[in-house]
Symmetry: D2
Subunit: 383 residues, 4 copies
Amino acid sequence: MVKKLNYGMVGGSLSAFIGAVHRIGASFDGKTHLVAGCFSPNEKSNRECGEYFELDPERVYASYTEMAEKEAAREDGIDFVTISIPNNHHYEAAKAFLVNKIHVLCEKPLCFTVGEAEELKKLAEENHVLFCVNYSYSGTNMVKEARELIQKGMIGEVINVNAEYLQEYLVDDIGQSEEKMVKLSSWRKDPEVAGISNCVGDIGTHIEHTVAYMTGLKLKRVAAKLDYFGQPLDLNANILVEFENGAHGVFCSSQVCVGHMNGLVVRIFGTEGAIEWVQENPNILSVTFKGQPTQIYNRGMGYVGTRSQETNRLPSGHPEGVYEAFANIYRAWVEAILKLKNNEALTEADMDFPSIDAGIEGVKFITACVESSKLDAQWITIN
Amino acid sequence: MVKKLNYGMVGGSLSAFIGAVHRIGASFDGKTHLVAGCFSPNEKSNRECGEYFELDPERVYASYTEMAEKEAAREDGIDFVTISIPNNHHYEAAKAFLVNKIHVLCEKPLCFTVGEAEELKKLAEENHVLFCVNYSYSGTNMVKEARELIQKGMIGEVINVNAEYLQEYLVDDIGQSEEKMVKLSSWRKDPEVAGISNCVGDIGTHIEHTVAYMTGLKLKRVAAKLDYFGQPLDLNANILVEFENGAHGVFCSSQVCVGHMNGLVVRIFGTEGAIEWVQENPNILSVTFKGQPTQIYNRGMGYVGTRSQETNRLPSGHPEGVYEAFANIYRAWVEAILKLKNNEALTEADMDFPSIDAGIEGVKFITACVESSKLDAQWITIN
Amino acid sequence: MVKKLNYGMVGGSLSAFIGAVHRIGASFDGKTHLVAGCFSPNEKSNRECGEYFELDPERVYASYTEMAEKEAAREDGIDFVTISIPNNHHYEAAKAFLVNKIHVLCEKPLCFTVGEAEELKKLAEENHVLFCVNYSYSGTNMVKEARELIQKGMIGEVINVNAEYLQEYLVDDIGQSEEKMVKLSSWRKDPEVAGISNCVGDIGTHIEHTVAYMTGLKLKRVAAKLDYFGQPLDLNANILVEFENGAHGVFCSSQVCVGHMNGLVVRIFGTEGAIEWVQENPNILSVTFKGQPTQIYNRGMGYVGTRSQETNRLPSGHPEGVYEAFANIYRAWVEAILKLKNNEALTEADMDFPSIDAGIEGVKFITACVESSKLDAQWITIN
Amino acid sequence: MVKKLNYGMVGGSLSAFIGAVHRIGASFDGKTHLVAGCFSPNEKSNRECGEYFELDPERVYASYTEMAEKEAAREDGIDFVTISIPNNHHYEAAKAFLVNKIHVLCEKPLCFTVGEAEELKKLAEENHVLFCVNYSYSGTNMVKEARELIQKGMIGEVINVNAEYLQEYLVDDIGQSEEKMVKLSSWRKDPEVAGISNCVGDIGTHIEHTVAYMTGLKLKRVAAKLDYFGQPLDLNANILVEFENGAHGVFCSSQVCVGHMNGLVVRIFGTEGAIEWVQENPNILSVTFKGQPTQIYNRGMGYVGTRSQETNRLPSGHPEGVYEAFANIYRAWVEAILKLKNNEALTEADMDFPSIDAGIEGVKFITACVESSKLDAQWITIN
């Protein structure tokens, strides 16, 4: 029986913060080996990564195409690849591995267009490989608890949603000429690299997915007002949303809201109760049943549900954070691939990682928001 | 020199909670005497009020029209009237006192239509009387501090606004037949009495005014989606807003959001900083300057601004609440009338109570939201 | 049937903040008239108070002794007196009214010595008058809810108590010479006026009473370490406590803890649950039953107990603060006196205001803390 | 130049939560290889660990003595050992590696007696090896920020300390017979295994160390009241403390405080400011300078100090938790050993991990608290 997996990385050089999070997340449960990579377009940086990770130099590749082909050709080739590079290369890189029948875990947003996204889904299906799009917050323990409570009907039918993802780090870009702009994540502000959206594409899409993951609800349509403040891509967005069940709500996404570092906050209101989750303090969940006091659920306690128990790593009150969310996604991802390799049946419960469908919904959402804003916040139908 | 004022009440019987808040707010500074009233359409209840407040029985009136005329005719007639009755009578009652040259403090929303509102303004001007519309949160000390910080330019130009007023108390009305509906404040749900809106008219209008008071910005237009859940008037509203300076934002107003009792939260984001005020913990103000730690301003401390100092009543850390907000509005209101009576000049600073213009903006806002929602959240221009 | 009471004040001139809180608190329910006073030793200030409150000049007295005698001699003399003057006069002033059979509501701490306190109790009993010592936090709605929950056994037996009252306002006194000291409340730092303790006497005593009120437990003994930082009276105190039921805990009282304005926090731990109340956000109560999520009780909701419902004034989410706590004490106090005047039986439930026994416990506590600290934190038995 | 280290574990079998935290913490920076271990006294469990971690079976040892000797004898023997076993074996296990000149990282509390602790220190010095005692909270980023702010004098001289570590998980042990007691961590309640203290030894010691790390202050003496509630070891402790600079404070440590999961809270009060850190929300630090608003410092922002910047791993607002604290201790620990191996000079700044001196202070503290409580909270001198 196969017990561990080999994997490779596209992107994730030593200077890339999110690459390190992937590696550490993948290593938490001790079931993966990093054995190959195309870490950087810079040859020196790429080689240094290989050395640091003690890889066989032959498995440090100059291009992801080469990597996909050569790894596929090896007896001991990688079981999956993690793609963590700027958005404009997601589609091509993912495709390269899919056609070589290598499972793909790719950063969000999945790609530039809905057409590309659907093509990737088709390729995954044709080649019988799994595809994960890294909406990492769905890996968070208490997000899973929120999902389970809602699935169990504890808050009744969802009637209103209020969610936001606020950051302040681009506030100095407002009205700035290009040379003075904030350098951090500068590629995110370049349409050639980031795609049609900065703020909605980078963080707004997390709102959409986290809400969808918690509630099981798809968006029906959006009416969005994006603010560009003189820049090529959006820095701020206020979005009216309507779900398939008729519920309304707002999504607010911003990188110019002073006082907010990484403020993803999701509030789901139902006919029988409500749930609030605040990413910056992720180990608790506020749960209120109508007419009752708000209850502060604590990760790791006996009263939380099955899935939260299963993904718990530390005793209650010992904070888990971002790495653990990644680790939970990798755990489900790795276990699913192991089942495939061991010819075990995969159930829906095994697939507790964001699928390519989540990636497609994300691209639809981003596309609809940008289009709606161009039409002065006219409703755009998504589903 | 006149040092104290006599006033009367329309509404505010012994069972009306908000009437008692008016009386206590008016009495905080010891400069008013309640001497007349038309407290209730119920004769017995009206008389009992007169006895409880130890009024001359002749000054307990069966109708506000009679009260306005008779008080105007007395040498020692009331200086002002407080009108605290259901919305459908605001216009007529206010008019009765205005034409009799008695200053009017009226509950919000001011009246049913913009036309009525503008007529009341005209009457107030023609009769040289003051008019206050009781948007009580603008009396809160730290709301005044927020206003002063923004006026001083401390947060730069306002670029985004996120404000909400969430309550849960009508959640059981969803999908209910009339006889089973929540009884509390039942007149608010009756279009004949409440007007065209329940939720936006009762609490959404407070969002609009509190934001306007803090920022000095007028709304340019709104795109609103109101939810009725099978009832004649709205229970939930999600509103995209655009201000005259081009900034966008969202206002969310709801009476079906479980877990929220009286959740007015205002967050103003500027190019240099941001401010957050939470009504349920009103003695603090969160202030962040970009790139700096969030600072928790505490009412009553030496670092707060002039107006906050002037309206401070208790040492820092000793909570002030709703009564004190009313008391601050009454303080400004009474001092302004005293100046008029003593033939002193009224400056703009003296007028730190919500004026009839605030009342007109409120009616415009409510009207526009309802109209927008009928047109499936199309933008409706306000100013 | 008597429905309203006349009262007088000793102290409470226009510049005294706590005097105004008494007057407003007494007026909330509209059942008292201020008709007499000895507001200030300063003749002009005293007279101005009389004028401001529109009193008969004959009833504005130069001394509390005169006031007690003359009011007792009047047919329409005051029903009770509120004594709100520096500590060193509490004993004499209270005595003057007691012997004249006038009910006394006195500020805390009751007096300087346990002997004086017990004498006052004896005088009150002999003269058949009521005596209230104004431990105002026991008037707070959610403190009453805490008491009721504990009385009902909801948290089991009390096994540990952690309570504190922290302020920062005297931090600049540390190591200062007298002329540079913080002027605010300067009499509190003068042993002649304040008594044997500043910090424990002014605020530590509130910890003792609030805990006793909530739990019904008396202190058995204390081991205290007071810090004087070069001043004649204490500025900081850390106190080990033992209750009559054997439970231990700590009380921390300080006026030099930067970041704390008026930080009374009481946490009661029992075998079945725990309660936390934070004075600066007094409308909520954190309640946890073992193994369960912490619940945030909100004042005014349907799930709170009888006494909290009875003393509720505003809908949930509309903050009540310090004035309302005073108003609740005055309500119980006034209703009790009215019952006496109307020859109705007084039950224990009617006596929901801090009695002279509370005042005696306070003096014992302060005395024991100072004595213990002199003996390097040796245990001193109180009860 | 040596760039990576090999290490072994004593304890840390697959079922031991803290063992996994050690392994993951050690792996975060990719500079260690786990190559040997004596993971469990259970032969099967020990062997399974070896297989899971893919170790050479020869390097999976039945006893730590054997492991120390054989690893010391190998050319490629381990550079350091992590000891994570019940307290009663710390001393013997540490000694075994010290005498074999292998660096030791050991869980707290270091050992049972001050004599043993000092012997270990002597052995470490004689054998020229480093010794780390895993007071893990000192690895937390914002604890380092607190330390730096205090070291820089930002809060002036420390005048009062209020710290606590509260848990609820043993509340059901109160008054229980042995067979019904809470099973979790049952060895901690057995004097043979845990030593003289349960609650103070397990968590109270973290208070002592975190305060010492932040402030640089040593304890002079303690007066402690421990509660046993019928059990052989303490479940609750309230402790008066005095520091070498004369400041006082309280430490409260409990495993029976309902509502608290892992509530380490440290508040340091100085003449110029104050700092508060709450372990359950570890990414922020509340900092107040006297007379100013409290500031909420956020990990990862530009305004935090050097050491916090150096140990930052994720952008601000992306929560770090317990694993990262361990990772920071391992980072400093590994870098220090690498310097030794590369014959580089070790500076004090390089030693930013809890040393054996911290371990000795911990044993002194625990011993003094137990002794003081036996003497009814008499002061016991520590330093």
